[in-house]
């Protein structure tokens, strides 16, 4: 009986150690990237929507310079969960658009999902029926991007775009819902 006890004790030690190692390896990427545990990256919109149990609202208009489908979809677990849909340029050079939205309650994207950038100019604009903040920002690499943020029902949207402001506003207005295009 004592022998079986020792056998089980060693078994539990090894299996417990293995489970702890797996759990630690699961948490490590979030720790290293400064993300919340449970944050995930999806390759397709349908996978992200299936995990969230909600449809993502995305612009129906995109400038010709952007490629489709998105390169990746990141999800911060929340609450409320916040998603970031990354779209690259058609020439594949770099990322040009990030569409962030909170699901179920208005919330700004966490810092790891949409890194804060130096603000150069801040103005109010209209996106359909909603007042939105348009901020001109400077990336560490010297590029100028624009952040457009507004709240629409239970979602808060933030679009970061490297390109013409007119295109950004047109994409925002094509998001649908209660927005008048």
């Amino acid at each position: 009986m004592r022998e079986v006890g020792a056998l089980l004790a060693r078994y539990l030690l090894v299996m417990g150690g293995a489970a702890a190692a797996l759990a630690a390896a699961d948490r490590l990427p979030a720790l290293l990237s400064g993300a919340t545990h449970g944050a995930r990256v999806y390759r397709t919109l349908s996978a992200a929507e299936s995990a969230l149990g909600a449809r993502l609202r995305l612009p129906s208009y995109y400038p010709d310079t952007l490629s489709w489908p998105p390169s990746r979809i990141e999800v911060a677990p929340g609450p409320p969960p916040v998603t970031a849909v990354h779209v690259t340029r058609r020439d594949g050079a770099r990322e040009a658009l990030v569409v962030c939205q909170s699901i179920g309650a208005p919330a700004d994207p966490p810092r790891w999902l949409l890194p804060p950038l130096e603000a150069l100019q801040d103005v109010e604009v209209e996106v359909g029926l909603h007042q939105a903040g348009l901020v001109r920002r400077l990336t560490p690499g010297g590029l100028v991007v624009h952040d457009l943020s507004w709240t629409q029902g239970e979602r808060r949207f933030t679009l970061r775009y490297e390109g013409a402001v007119e295109d950004l506003l047109r994409m925002a207005r094509s998001l649908g819902g209660d927005v008048t295009p």
């Binding site: 060693r10 078994y11 090894v14 293995a18 979030a30 944050a39 995930r40 990256v41 390169s71």
Partner: protein, 306 residues
Amino acid sequence: MATLVVEALLRAWRVNDPAWRLRFRLVPVAVPILLVPSFFVLAPWRTGARFASSSALFAGERWNLLRVGPAGAGDLVLVLAAGLGAWLFLRDALPPLVDRLRQGPAAAAGAWLAPPALRVVVERQARRLALPPPAIRVVASRWPAFFAEGHAPGELVVSPPALEALSPPELDAAVAHELAHLRYGDPRWGYALIAVRAVNFFNPALHWAARAVVDEIERRADQAVVEAGHAPDALASAIVKLFDRSHPESAASGPLLERLARRVRRVGVERRRERLVTAPPSRLSHGWLRLALVACGLTTMLYFVV
């Protein structure tokens, strides 16, 4: 993970009975060919994004949060692992295939006659192990070849450099070792393992697990030789001689991975030699209980790994 868990349990439980070690080692090999497809059929929800985000103990895709250039770290590791797996498979599977193609049908049919002295040794050892004597095939090779093929009575394949390298007691022990493989039907295990590895060529962990199974098969045959009354020293010395002549240091001056692979195998041969000349293995108690615990534990744990 399954291979690591089994390795840790073999050490924690101090399992040194070769037959039981082999059974435990087969569990990680069974994972990709039995467990993973079963999960796909019986628990399809595991592959869904919801399971990964809410229930998984480990989700590989979470590593894509870290970016390496345009790629996620998780995807990159998968691609690199697949490359490593393919290399491990090809470096084991290609040389014998190329040898066979180069030698042609004459060598495959046995171009050389077996020396009468070898025939006497084989018949003596077969009587000792109560086996029918196998056929002997001498292949023309500049490298030492000494292995068994088929199932009892089977076939003993040797090359002249191997026969020249071994002293009479070493030859006795080496023949007994190969006959033990035939008695256990080990060549068939070898073919099955190659087939499993070919199907999972992209999985480096499986190649590692399969290599561990091969080591245990060798260990079991070594033990059978010692139990048949041969001097462990003679077998140990034969193993070291054959390895060193078939993997000369000068031939391993190529790529780093090749040199590393030779060093790892050389360490394995040295461990095998040490095992032979130290104390014999002890019997394992509650073997089936332990095996059931390993299988159940791994099934449960791996269910939550996606």
